[in-house]
Amino acid sequence: MPPDALTATDIRVLGEGGRAVVDGASLTLTPGEIVGLTGPSGSGKSTLALALLGLARPPMRLAGGRVLLGGRDLLVMDEDEAARVRGREIALIVQNPRAALHPMLPVGRQIGRLWRRHGGSGDADARAVDMLRLVGINDPERRSKAFAHELSGGMAQRALIAAALSTDPAVLVADEPTSGLDVTVQAQFLDMMAQAARGRGLAMLLVTQEPGVLANYCDRVLVMEAGRIAADRPVRDHFAALPRRLSDAAPLVPPRSGAPVVRVEGLSKRFPVRGTDKQVHAVDGVGFELRPGETLGLVGESGSGKTTAGRAILRLIEPGAGRVEISGQDVTVLAPGPLRQLRRRATIVRQDPFDSFDPRWTIGRSLAEPLDIHGIGSKTDRLERVRHLARLAGCDADVLEHRPRDLPAGALQRLAIARALATDPDFVVLDEPTSVLTPSARREVVELLRRLQAELGVAFLFISHDLTTIAAVCHRVAVMYLGQIVEIGTADQVFRDPRHPYTRALISAHLGEDPADRRLDRPRGERLEGEIPSPIDLPPGCYLASRCPHALDRCRVERQPLRTLPDGRQARCWRTEELPLPKEGAA
């Protein structure tokens, strides 16, 4: 056993009014080990992570404990000494990388300064470029001269870790380092960070809520509850001890037979770019059908146009071109009156439940709103219906008296789903309904959706970037890239045997929740080079060609149609048959 890199004992952090945010937490980190710190929101994870550096965000303050680093207690040092230790022996990576970088200094200069301050001697610029290269930034010479706003979120996060590693610290604390990043960027970043940590014998604490991150990268998992460490166990034991997971759910109820409720053809939406005559191609020729009781997953990274597509289908924004038929009516040509009538049959649930309810209204009034708008039922009928909706959402009738801020996010999101179903619609767009929820609240929402769909036969368009949730609720999956569907097929086809190179990269970047099949331990799957091209200046050929490992010259000049493959799915790549089979399945 190597000696511990960091030993923290009985850390106490007090918040406003003397409330203990961290209440006597102890932990040890050993060199070369990645330890996950997880727990529900408000359990004190981030506060504990900061406390390991001897810091607290006002009005919170450190009230006790010891943090032993290399035999010395960080918490009893004077401020100058502690500042020297911070950065050199223990480094921190925070959630919002762009805010953590100085906006007025080139990133290379920032890295160089940090390194100098902690005793580095020699060419600081060269050191910065080396560090940027180490964290996998292309063209580090040029990037080191870039300012924070010129970097993408993923690149800014890499620059931060480059800065953190430049001083060769013994301990690295990363507080939800990938929470704002896209799936493929997240995986690349965590791969790089894990490699760097292991290669250098770094002790690392990774604060995260994501089971996928824990399963794939952490050796040991600490669970925090109400300011205390409730469990400390190896990652496999942690997952063995979890009650239920999304992937354990019963098989989906198959869709009902009958005519499609939703038929979308050639849907496009462009936005003009201010000050130029250019346009952003947000949605570009999207088409699909949905049968009653069916869920289609719409997957893609940020900027892929999935949210715009969902809103254009419901005509919450005016579509530019294409046809959308819902319950037999062409939505795109409906007059305002009939369109409002149609909204009984088709509606939407958005990502942030706190945003979806009027803060001044009680939950009951909000749930009754769709009924009021369409004048459905008498007053007593509506009250009865609203009570029923609350029960559907798994809430007591007394939530109806409350305002949104009194409820937890998970319950509120279930109520938002219940409200969407108030008028018995045929079709609901679910726009990232689980993305801001904790894993347990996410599971409850997924279970609710599956139960309601089986009972009511409603069709869902489920928009998400979270493949685990998609796999748990969707019959079919469509993958979007830069406004186009690049592959659409059954969930099994897309997840087990993705054919389009982009789908393959996306699936391979997916962090499954199985600690027995860790990303760290298996060969690299397919990955994409570089960043998503700007949707303003799209390449002339296949949109993926600049990043695709299988691209030929022809791909760069020729657009590709969505072809139907022998197994019934469609993909926008003419090389699907030639490509080697992927080595791994996921989901």
Partner: protein, 299 residues
């Protein structure tokens, strides 16, 4: 967890006390001003429009005040001219108190009018963005580019002096402010989930604008209004001072200052000082209350 760290509710005990002090100071001053406006004519010892025998009498020395007060309250003697009398022999004390009604009524009327017009148009301009609302915004720009004194003088030239002119001039001045504040708030509100949820349930645009957008957009305008009332009092006095306001001898602070201003060089400071203090105190009271409410709203 991050939510409770980053929320601005980082109020220590001292901070809260500070806010309370500001709030209560403002509330007490505003309360007194309103009381004077309502009950003023029944509280004062002299009729504000009837001259006394002594012209330009100075106020009694401060040292005599307790005795005089005792004699008036307990002894039933005729009250002295606490603040002296002006060049026409009018009691400055009575006029200062009665004038609260003139100034507050004008300021409140202008505020209510401009609040209603500004907020209403602001919701419309923010929620329905089209060529007509663009035109509205440009018109409000145009209105804002006129100095309020010029506007008021044009109105006086057209319709003569009177409190209606001041109300109109102030409304034209403040409506664009409320309009902009509300419109900015509405622009963010219209993107909110609950607005879209209502639209996605089939609610019409006007219904969403009135039921969801308007109530949630009132905050900034309400806070602005308590500050604006204070400044409206200041401007009412200012307009009357330059002769673009109410007609003399209406008791009005600005007019009183103007009347007394000629005598200051002769050493008669009292006809102008006391209405001046009344303006300062009232404006400060509204500003303090507004500031306290704003901080409470932000926290």
């Amino acid at each position: 967890m991050t939510a409770d760290i980053l929320s601005p509710a980082a109020t220590s005990a001292g901070d809260r006390a500070g806010k309370g002090f500001l709030f209560w100071t403002g509330a007490v001053i505003v309360g007194l001003a309103l009381l004077m406006a309502v009950l003023g004519p029944w509280l004062v010892p002299y009729d504000p429009a009837t001259p006394a025998d002594t012209v330009s009498a100075p106020p009694p020395p401060l040292a005599d005040w307790p005795g005089l007060l005792w004699a008036t309250l307990a002894g039933g003697e005729k009250a002295p001219h606490w603040f002296g009398t002006d060049a026409a022999g009018l009691d400055v004390f009575s006029r200062t108190i009665v004038a609260a009604r003139t100034d507050l009524v004008i300021a409140l009327a202008a505020n209510i009018l401009s609040f209603g017009i500004g907020v209403g148009l602001g919701v419309v301009a923010g929620y329905f963005r089209n060529w007509a609302t663009e035109l509205l915004m440009r018109a409000s720009d145009l209105l804002q580019s006129f100095p309020v004194f010029i506007t008021a003088m044009i109105l006086v030239a057209l319709g003569g002096r009177g409190w209606g002119n001041i109300v109109l001039a102030l409304t034209l001045l403040y409506a664009p402010i409320y309009l902009r504040l509300t419109r900015a708030e509405v622009l963010t509100l219209r993107e909110r989930g609950f607005v879209e949820a209502a639209r996605a349930s089939g609610a019409g645009d006007w219904s969403v604008a009135i039921r969801h957008v308007l109530p949630n957009a009132l905050g900034p305008a309400l806070i602005q209004s308590s500050v604006t009332i204070g400044f409206a009092i200041l401007l009412t006095a200012g307009l009357s001072f330059v002769g673009a306001g109410v007609r003399p001898p209406t008791p009005e602070w600005g007019l009183m200052i103007a009347n007394g201003a000629g005598q200051i060089v002769l050493g008669d400071w009292w006809p102008s000082l006391f209405p001046g203090l009344a303006i300062s105190l009232t404006v400060f009271g509204f500003a303090a209350l507004g500031h306290a409410l704003e901080r409470r709203h932000a926290a």
